[in-house]
């Protein structure tokens, strides 16, 4: 088991995402504590951890929604402190919430985000994604009439609309049926994207990932350089729960 083990990288490779000594405090509570991690281009990293381990806080900082108390985050060598706008152009974010306006139609929502992201030929792109996600027939319906699973599928389209290089996902499979889960991973893996996601289910998360990590009490508790075995992951997860 590797505890707080620094990630060894090839000298010439610039990590797609690099986190150095990240910390985040909420008053006296330390949500993240000196967390370091590097994710190589094309990797799919699954982050597991007990409730309150700091996974969502980490993703909020990575998505530039929240500022860290200390430490730095780099995307392809660019710092989020200095180049946040450029970095956001390369990021796709899928959260617990859909970020969709319930009183607008699915199509209106995607057109709105296309304009924010300067998506070229947005009409074709929107229809393509809605087709893939099985929502084409409901594209002119208000999002408020959608089920939780349909909203989540539409949120996937929103997150991938601008063909992001890095995708951040917080519990991406919640509310999705098997078809939608498969489509999600097919779409996300297109164009060799770098993916960082959190998952509450060890087995599902392990299957989807090319590398895994476990957080506990705001720290990277287990983070091997290569994908470990399911047994090692389970053992490390059980040890992390003792820390919680």
């Amino acid at each position: 088991m590797n505890i707080q083990e620094p990630v060894v990288m090839a000298a010439e490779t610039i990590p797609a995402v690099e986190i150095k000594g990240l910390s985040r405090n909420f008053g006296t509570f330390e949500a993240l504590r000196n967390l370091s991690l590097a994710v190589q281009p094309g990797e799919t990293l699954a982050i597991f951890g007990h409730n309150g381990a700091g996974k969502t806080t980490l993703l909020k900082i990575l998505s530039t929604v929240m500022k860290p108390t200390g430490g730095e985050v780099f995307y392809g060598g660019l710092s989020i402190a200095a180049d946040a706008e450029n970095i956001r152009r390369r990021l796709g974010v899928l959260s617990h919430q859909s970020f969709l306006y319930s009183s607008l139609t699915a199509y209106d929502n995607l057109v709105f985000y296309s304009r924010l992201y300067d998506v070229a030929d947005c009409d074709t792109r929107i229809k393509h994604l809605l087709n893939r996600l099985g929502l084409r027939s409901r594209m002119y319906d208000k999002v408020g009439t959608f089920s939780r699973g349909m909203s989540q599928r539409l949120a996937i389209a929103r997150a991938l609309l601008h063909r992001p290089e890095v995708v951040l996902m917080d519990e991406p499979e919640s509310g999705l049926d098997t078809f939608a889960m498969d489509t999600l991973w097919q779409l996300v893996r297109e164009d060799s994207r770098t993916v960082i996601f959190t998952h509450h289910n060890l087995e599902r998360g392990f299957q989807a990932a090319s590398r895994v990590a476990i957080m506990a009490r705001g720290k990277m508790f287990f983070c091997p350089d290569i994908k470990c075995s399911p047994g090692e992951l389970e053992k490390a997860y059980a040890a992390s729960l003792e820390m919680a």
């Binding site: 500022k67 956001r88 617990h96 919430q97 970020f99 969709l100 306006y101 209106d108 985000y113 924010l116």
Partner: protein
């Protein structure tokens, strides 16, 4: 220029949302017309008294109607954490502020476009002259600039409907006082040169609060 363009995209989305739901405009217009009708009944037979209080009535109506629409502007963004959707988009926090400011300003103009003819009719007051239009535009910019900032602050609190007026009215009071006085001068037969000091106050307020709100907005939505 890019920031303005993205702000316009956000404002257009807000308008589209309202066109689809008509939630705010219907309630705000009913409220505003109701206030004017009640005051009209109160001063019904006394045209002289009605003429004296008319500037106060119209600006009180705009202020309270404005609060209702300002409250709603960030509630929309709070549902499904849409504000986070804007925050992860490749636009600056300032562009988000400008977008919401433009949206609120358009809304206030829309309310005024409906309420002013009703007011003019019931109070027998001609509100359609260049001076009054100028006062209305300048004061509305002040309303929207401060209101957008405070609506963003209030939306994260539990009693946001209470918090916004408590924050908003003390700060916007100089604009309301200046607008009421300037309107009274014009309705009393004055000309543009008679109200330059009032317009100066409103203009200065607008500039100060647009710049200040633009600069501090990022701290408000990030914390």
């Amino acid at each position: 220029m890019r920031e303005i363009a993205k702000a316009c995209v956000i404002a257009a989305k807000d308008m589209l949302t309202e066109i689809r739901t008509r939630e705010v405009i219907s309630s705000v217009v009913v409220f505003a017309v109701l206030v004017i009708v009640i005051f009209n009944f109160a001063f019904g037979s006394n045209q002289q008294a009605a003429g004296l209080v008319a500037p106060g009535i119209i600006w009180v109506t705009f202020a309270f109607a404005g609060i209702l629409s300002l409250n709603r502007s960030f509630v929309l963004e709070k549902e499904e954490d849409c504000i986070e959707g804007l925050m992860v988009a490749p636009i600056s926090r300032e562009a988000i502020y400008l977008g919401k400011f433009f949206g609120n300003l358009l809304f206030i103009f829309l309310i005024q476009a409906i309420v002013i003819p009703v007011f003019s009719l019931l109070f027998n007051v001609g509100f359609f002259n260049i001076e009054l239009v100028l006062i209305t535009i300048l004061a509305s910019v002040g309303f929207a600039s401060v209101g957008t900032l405070f609506a963003a602050m209030a939306v994260s609190t539990r009693a946001r409907e209470l918090v916004l007026p408590i924050l908003f009215f003390p700060v916007i009071t100089p604009v309301i006082i200046a607008a009421v006085n300037a309107s009274a001068v014009i309705l009393g037969g004055g000309v543009l040169s008679d109200i330059t000091q009032w317009l100066g106050i409103i203009g200065a307020f607008d500039i100060i609060f647009i710049v200040a709100s633009y600069l501090v907005f990022c701290f408000i939505i990030e914390e």
